[in-house]
């Protein structure tokens, strides 16, 4: 059974289809790339999966369960999360708190015990702090740990957004252009991070325009044009696929 499966997904804006009867499936443990020209509907697919948009047609299955109409927060709790193309962080929280707030949602404490600050909360908080510190260590953000996230640079925000996804150990992370506007050194770091996390068992589904990056990282690439899948396969095959070259370079 595929971890994530999309069947016949369709989404139109003002009558124009942005995603057009799309089928795809992602196996557990994979890194899958999603590429395609600007406006080909990549982000829209993510938005439909995480239900930031209501799809017009189609079924989305996650771990075999129909999640087409599941609220985003429930998806996160069941192990599916994402980043956004325009980076989002909680600007008034510190870097550490950004991670803590994500982590604590996945701990089994009750609102009452949180209000009363019961001892169990202190334990949860300690565990969360350890995990958060570990994650910050991993993405090398420890030096800005207590800075408000609103004060971070763009690159730092990207790392933080990535960290707040993997910190609660989801099954799959959808990344929307993780390397956009990031310098080459940082791109390599991000690549390494994703590799290590993938080895730890996190599945990735990544939208990218940086071909070198995604061809190196992904085992399988899906190519989108005008909302339709025009090719799918290993990076080697995709790089030489005529249709893809045409879609991308107009050749």
């Amino acid at each position: 059974m595929a971890l994530l499966e999309i069947q016949n997904l369709t989404k139109s804006f003002y009558g124009i289809p942005a995603v057009d009867h799309l089928n795809l499936s992602i196996e557990r443990g994979e890194v899958t790339g999603l590429i395609g020209p600007n406006g080909s509907g990549k982000t829209t697919i993510f938005n439909c999966i995480t239900r930031h948009l209501e799809s017009d047609e189609g079924v989305i299955l996650f771990k075999g369960k129909d999640i087409t109409h599941t609220a985003p927060y429930r998806l996160a709790l069941s192990g599916l999360t994402r980043t956004f193309q325009t980076i989002r962080v909680f600007s008034e929280l510190t870097v550490l708190e950004n991670l803590l707030v994500a982590l604590q949602q996945h701990q089994e404490d009750s609102v009452i015990s949180r209000l009363l600050r019961s001892p169990s909360i202190r334990k949860f908080e300690r565990v969360a702090r350890e995990k958060a510190d570990e994650a910050l260590e991993f993405v090398e953000l420890t030096y800005v740990r207590d800075l408000k996230a609103g004060h971070l640079s763009y690159g730092q925000r990207k790392l933080l957004a990535l960290a707040s996804c993997f910190v609660f150990e989801p099954d799959i992370i959808l990344l929307d252009e993780p390397t956009a506007a990031v310098n080459p050194t940082m791109i390599n770091k991000i690549k390494e991070h994703i590799r290590i996390l993938n080895q730890k068992g996190i599945t990735f589904f990544i939208i990218e325009h940086n071909m070198e990056f995604i061809m190196d990282l992904a085992r399988r690439i899906i190519v989108l044009e005008q909302g339709q899948k025009i090719a799918e396969g290993e990076p080697r095959d995709i790089q030489t696929n005529e249709m893809v070259l045409e879609a991308y370079f107009g050749r």
């Binding site: 995480t50 930031h52 609220a71 985003p72 927060y73 998806l75 996160a76 709790l77 999360t81 994402r82 956004f84 989002r88 962080v89 909680f90 600007s91 008034e92 929280l93 708190e97 803590l100 707030v101 994500a102 604590q104 949602q105 996945h106 404490d109 609102v111 949180r114 209000l115 600050r117 909360i121 908080e125 800075l147 408000k148 609103g150 004060h151 971070l152 640079s153 707040s164 609660f168």
Partner: protein
């Protein structure tokens, strides 16, 4: 060193106030401002921390007052029981109102809460058998500490002053409990970015409702004590004019900034009373002030003070200048939801 002395000094001033202020009228104003402190803080929990700007808050205060106005004369229950009962019933009311209201986003939410508040006010005006309508419920007994017939009654102004101090302590403690720590952190996350919150597993709706219910319950409790103090409850307790007062206090004081709100509540209650400004002129001035505040300094007076302080620090400290620069660049984007 100065900070350490501040708190004991404040406590002494607050406790000693009735010894200095002996005119009943001035004591009444102090009590009024204490009521507004608690009332405004209860509003800020949901309106400020979560940005759910409801226009129904006076409905909770007023319902709390009516619950006590109707039940206290009947049963002669002690004031704390009335407080708890009012808070509990109002919480149930808020829960019912939340069901349609929170299905809507943003401005529609505000409008529906306004409609609900207006409907409740109509009930207070027209269900004469229960509320005596525009004739108001009078003769609500003074606060009694135990039960009916007990001789421990609180009816002096001094007594009420201390009672409202106590109410304020209760409200501030609850306010701090829900707006700091794990829950407060989640509130801030939701206020900063609802969409991101959801993708990290935060049940946004549940937290918004939680804040709404807690704020409502507190307002109901404050209303209950206010009914005892005033000895009357009228339909205009539920009216829009109270909403305006709350908005003025919370948004001039600075949303989520409890110190700013406390100071603003006290100042804006005392100043016009002392200057004896006619009510409509006062409201015109407040309206203009509110407009300027919200347009020019969305973080309120307290935010203004903060940014002045930051500027000062920036000029003295080389070290922080880098961070501060980074921040002023981002300030324009996303400092608070109110300045987006």
């Amino acid at each position: 060193m100065g900070k350490k002395l501040l708190l004991p000094l404040l406590v002494i001033i607050l406790l000693g106030m009735p010894l200095i202020v002996r005119l009943p009228y001035f004591l009444h104003i102090l009590i009024l401002s204490a009521m507004y402190v608690a009332y405004a803080l209860s509003y800020d929990i949901s309106a400020g921390h979560l940005g759910s700007v409801s226009l129904a808050h006076p409905a909770f205060f007023g319902t709390g007052a009516y619950v006590t106005g109707i039940l206290a004369p009947m049963f002669g229950t002690p004031f704390w029981a009335n407080f708890l009962l009012a808070a509990a019933l109002v919480m149930i009311l808020a829960f019912i109102m939340a069901q349609p209201a929170f299905r809507l986003a943003d401005i529609s939410f505000a409008i529906v809460t306004l409609g609900l508040a207006v409907s409740l006010q109509l009930v207070a005006q027209n269900w004469v058998e229960l509320t005596r309508g525009p004739m108001c419920i009078n003769n609500i007994p003074a606060v009694s500490l135990f039960s009916k017939g007990s001789s421990v009654l609180l009816s002096s102004l001094q007594g009420y002053y201390y009672l409202f101090l106590l109410v304020n302590i209760v409200v501030i403690v609850i306010y701090r409990l829900v707006t700091t720590g794990r829950i407060g952190r989640t509130f801030t996350a939701i206020r900063n970015d609802e969409i991101l919150s959801a993708t990290q597993g935060i049940n946004v709706l549940r937290y918004k409702q939680l804040a709404f219910l807690i704020g409502a319950a507190l307002a109901g409790g404050v209303g209950s004590i206010w009914a005892h103090y005033m000895t009357v409850v009228c339909p205009d307790y539920l009216g829009l004019s109270y909403t305006l007062n709350l908005l003025i206090i919370v948004f001039i004081g600075g949303v989520t900034n409890y110190r700013g709100i406390i100071v603003t509540a006290v100042v804006l209650t005392i100043v016009p009373e002392v200057l004896r400004v006619a009510p409509s002129i006062r409201l015109i001035l407040y309206g203009i002030l509110l407009f300027l505040a919200i347009v020019l300094m969305p973080e309120g007076l307290a935010g203004l003070v903060d940014s002045v302080r930051r500027r000062l620090r920036k000029s003295t400290s080389e070290l922080q200048s880098a961070a501060a620069e980074n921040q002023s660049a981002s300030d324009s984007n996303d400092a608070t939801p109110f300045s987006e």
